[in-house]
Subunit: 386 residues, 2 copies
DNA sequence: GGACTTAGTAAACTACGTAGCAATATCTAG
DNA sequence: CTAGATATTGCTACGTAGTTTACTAAGTCC
C-alpha cells in the first residue's frame, strides 16, 4: 500500500495509459467514446490518442460512410500488430508453437509430432525448428517477438528448470531458457502445463467468469493448476497444486484403473485403452463402467483436497480425458458432494489440446502488459531481458 | 487493469494520500523527510501535510530542543487517535474484546470467561457487556469506533453467519452482525478464528516476512487459515482451508490420540489431558510419546495436503497446542518431508491466545484503510454501514 | 560570525477542463 | 429537389489547479 507522489507529467502518462487501455479489446473507437470510457474531456482524449498514434501504439482510421447523423468521426484502434508473442507447448508426443499479436489474435500456429523417447537436445532442436518455421511463415524475425512462454510437464522452478520428475526423458538436465536466450532478447518464461491450461481456460475457455478456479488436467497423468483471485498461483517454490504427490490421494493409480479394465484390446496404447474403456462404458459394458467408477473415485479424493483447501468457484475438468466428460462430470460431482463442505461448479473444458499453448500465449501477453503497459508507458519495441 | 482518467484535483487527492501513508507507522516526521519519502517537492509536501492537519488526520509537534545542526524542524505525526477499532474473539470458554487506535496501538483489552454451554443469546449478551466495559474504561462511545471484526469458531459466510458446524451451542441460529448493527454505524465483519489467527501471525507474529502462509490452529479442534500473496483467502464460499473435513485427513481424530493415551488422570478435561500427555512425553513416558507421535502423524496428512496444494513459504503451528511445539515441530517436519515435494519452513506461534482478537483488530484496520484511505481520502470520521 | 538546515513565498511550467466556433454529415419541410 | 435545422466532430483559446524551481528569511550549533 505504499503510494508515491505524482506530478503533472506522471498524470499525463497515466492518462495516456488510461486511453490505451480503453482502446484495447474494443472495435475502433471515436474520440468521444474514448472520452466517455476514460472519464477525460474530449480535447484531452484527443491529444492523448494522437500522441499514441505518433508513438506507434495506435492507428487512425479515416471516416468512411457514416451510418448516423452528424459529422462522421475519425476512429482510432490499438495497433495490435506492433508486437507479437510466442506460446510454446513442449509435450511428450508433440510440439506446438503459436504466435499471436498484442490483442491475442492468432497469427500463426504449427504442430510437429515429437518422439516420446527423444532426449532434451533433440527435443529442443525440434522446438527450434518449429519456431523457425512459424516465424518464417509469419514473415517475422526473433526481434519482433516481445515475450516467449513455454509449457512443459512437471513442476518448474523460477529459472525454468524442471525440478522433480517428468515424463520427458532426461528433461531435468534441460535448460530451455538458456537454450533460447541467444536467439531472443525478450523475456522467456517456462511454466508447468497444468498451470498454463488453467490460464487458458480463464482466457478463452469455460472459466472466463471466475476468479477462483481449480483446473484439472486429467489424462494418463493427472495434474492441477490453480487460479486464485484471478492470478495464477505458483506457490513459493513453484509446486502449488501438486496434490497428486500425497499418498492418500491416489492420482498416480487412478488412470491405471482404466488400462487395467478387462476387455481392453491387447497391445493398445494407454491413451487408446482409456478411450476404449470410456466408449465401452458409454455403451453399457459393466466392467468398463466399474473401471470408470473406480477412476472417478480415486480422482475425487484429490479434487476434494483441492476444493476443501481453496473453496473455488469452479472446477474445470480438462486434459485428454475431458472428451469423456459426459461420463465423468456427474459421478465426480456426486463423489465431491460426499467429501466437500460446499461443492463448486463443475465444468468440462472445451479447449482442445491447444490449451497449454494458449495459456502460454496469455502469460506472455501478461508479461508484455506489465512491462510495457503497466505503470509506465514505454516505447512500442521489444522489451529486453527477462 | 481498467485504468481511469485523472485530473489535477484527483492528483492532489492522491498526493495527500501519499503523504498520509508516508506519515503512518513512522516517528513524527519533518516536511523534508516526508518530501523524500513521497517523492514530492518540499513545498508540495508542506501544503499537503498542513491540509491534513486542518482536516484532522495529522498533528503538529512544535520543535523543541533540537539535537542536530540547523533550524529545528517542525514535526508532523499521524493522528492515530482519530479513530479506533474493535477486535472481538467469541470463544467457547472466553470472550476477548480488544480496542486499538488507527496505528494498531492497543488501548484497552478485556477478557471474560464464558460458559461453554451458553446459548447464542447469553453469549451475545456477554459480548455486549464486555464491549460496554471496554468502551467505558477507554472513555469512548460506540460512535468513536470505525470498524468491528468478530472471530468465531467454524466456517462463516459473507453475512457473518456460521454455516456448517461449530462447538458454540446453537450458534448457527446466531446473527452477530444483526445483533450489533443497532449499536454501531460502522462496518461489522465476522470471520473464522483460524483465518484471523493467521492474519495476526503475519501482523505481529512469526510470519511477518512471508506472503504465502499456512496457519495451523492446533488444539482440541484443528483448523487452518490461509494467506496467499499477502491476502487472507476466504474462498468463494468462505470455507477455504477446511481440509479437516476430508475423511482421508483425520483431523477430527488426531487430538483423540492424546486424550486416549493410557495414564491420563481420570476426570481431566480434554485440554488438561492433552497438556498432561505432552508433559509426560517430554519426561520420557513411552505411551505418551506414542500418543504424540500418532497425533502428529494424523495431523501431518492434512498439513501435507495444504502444503502440496499451496506450496507456502511458511507453516505456522499455532493454537493451544503450540505451547508444546518443542515436541511437535521436528517430528512434524519429518512427516511432512515424507509427503511433500518441498517442505516449507515450520515455525511455532509465539502469540498467546490473543491471536484471534489480534487478527480481528488487523482486519478491522484493513477495513478502515480501504474505506477511508484507499483511493479517496475521506474525512476522519466513522465510516457508515458495512 | 559562518555553516547548515528549515520555513515560507513568488514566479514559471505543465496538464486538464470548459467554452466556443467552424466543418461535415443527415434529416425534414416545402 | 433544395434549403434550413440538427447533430456530431475537430480544433483553438482561455481559465484553473497543482507542482517545481528559485529565492529569501529564520533559527541553531561550532
Amino acid at each position: 500500500m505504499a503510494m508515491s507522489g505524482t506530478d503533472p507529467s506522471r498524470m499525463r502518462e497515466m492518462n495516456q495509459l488510461s486511453v490505451l487501455w480503453a482502446l484495447r479489446g474494443t472495435p475502433p473507437s471515436t474520440v468521444t467514446e474514448l472520452s466517455g470510457r476514460t472519464g477525460l474531456s474530449r480535447p484531452a482524449a484527443d491529444v492523448l490518442v494522437q500522441q499514441l498514434v505518433t508513438d506507434g501504439w495506435a492507428e487512425v482510421e479515416e471516416p468512411g460512410a457514416s451510418s448516423t447523423v452528424g459529422r462522421p468521426a475519425r476512429r482510432y484502434r490499438f495497433r495490435a500488430t506492433a508486437g507479437h508473442v510466442l506460446g510454446i507447448d513442449i509435450g511428450v508426443h508433440k510440439i506446438l508453437v503459436m504466435l499471436c499479436d498484442l490483442e491475442g489474435n492468432l497469427v500463426q500456429s504449427l504442430r510437429r509430432p515429437a518422439d516420446p523417447q527423444a532426449g532434451p537436445d533433440a527435443r529442443l532442436a525440434s522446438v527450434d525448428q518449429t519456431i523457425d518455421d512459424v516465424l518464417h511463415k509469419a514473415g517475422m524475425a526473433p526481434a519482433d517477438i516481445w515475450a516467449v512462454t513455454i509449457g512443459v510437464t512437471g513442476p518448474v522452478d523460477e529459472n525454468g528448470r524442471t525440478i522433480v520428475s517428468t515424463p520427458l526423458p532426461g528433461w531435468r538436465e534441460a535448460d530451455p531458457i538458456a537454450h533460447l536466450r541467444p536467439r531472443f532478447t525478450c523475456p522467456i518464461r517456462v511454466e508447468n502445463d497444468c498451470k498454463l491450461a488453467a490460464v487458458a481456460e480463464r482466457w478463452k475457455g469455460v472459466a472466463q467468469d471466475a476468479d477462483d478456479i481449480v483446473y484439472l488436467l486429467a489424462g494418463l497423468r493427472t495434474g492441477a493448476g490453480l487460479i486464485i483471485d484471478g492470478t495464477l498461483r505458483r506457490g513459493h517454490g513453484g509446486v502449488a497444486g501438486e496434490i497428486g504427490a500425497l499418498k492418500a490421494v491416489r492420482w498416480l493409480n487412478a488412470p491405471a484403473h482404466l488400462s487395467a479394465c478387462p476387455g481392453v484390446p491387447s497391445g493398445a496404447k494407454p491413451g487408446d485403452a482409456a478411450a476404449w474403456v470410456f466408449q465401452a462404458a458409454r455403451e453399457g459394458d459393466s466392467a468398463a463402467k466399474t473401471a470408470v467408477q473406480r477412476y472417478i473415485r480415486d480422482l475425487a479424493v484429490g479434487v476434494a483436497a483441492l476444493v476443501l483447501t481453496l473453496d473455488p468457484q469452479i472446477v474445470v475438468y480438462g486434459g485428454g480425458f475431458s472428451r469423456s466428460a459426459d461420463l465423468v462430470l456427474d459421478p465426480l460431482r456426486r463423489e465431491l458432494a460426499k467429501h466437500c463442505l460446499r461443492v463448486p461448479e463443475l465444468r468440462a473444458s472445451t479447449l482442445s489440446d491447444e490449451s497449454v499453448a494458449l495459456g502460454a500465449l496469455r502469460l506472455a501477453l501478461d508479461q508484455v502488459d506489465t512491462t510495457l503497459l503497466g505503470s509506465r508507458l514505454a516505447a512500442p519495441t521489444a522489451p529486453q531481458f527477462s
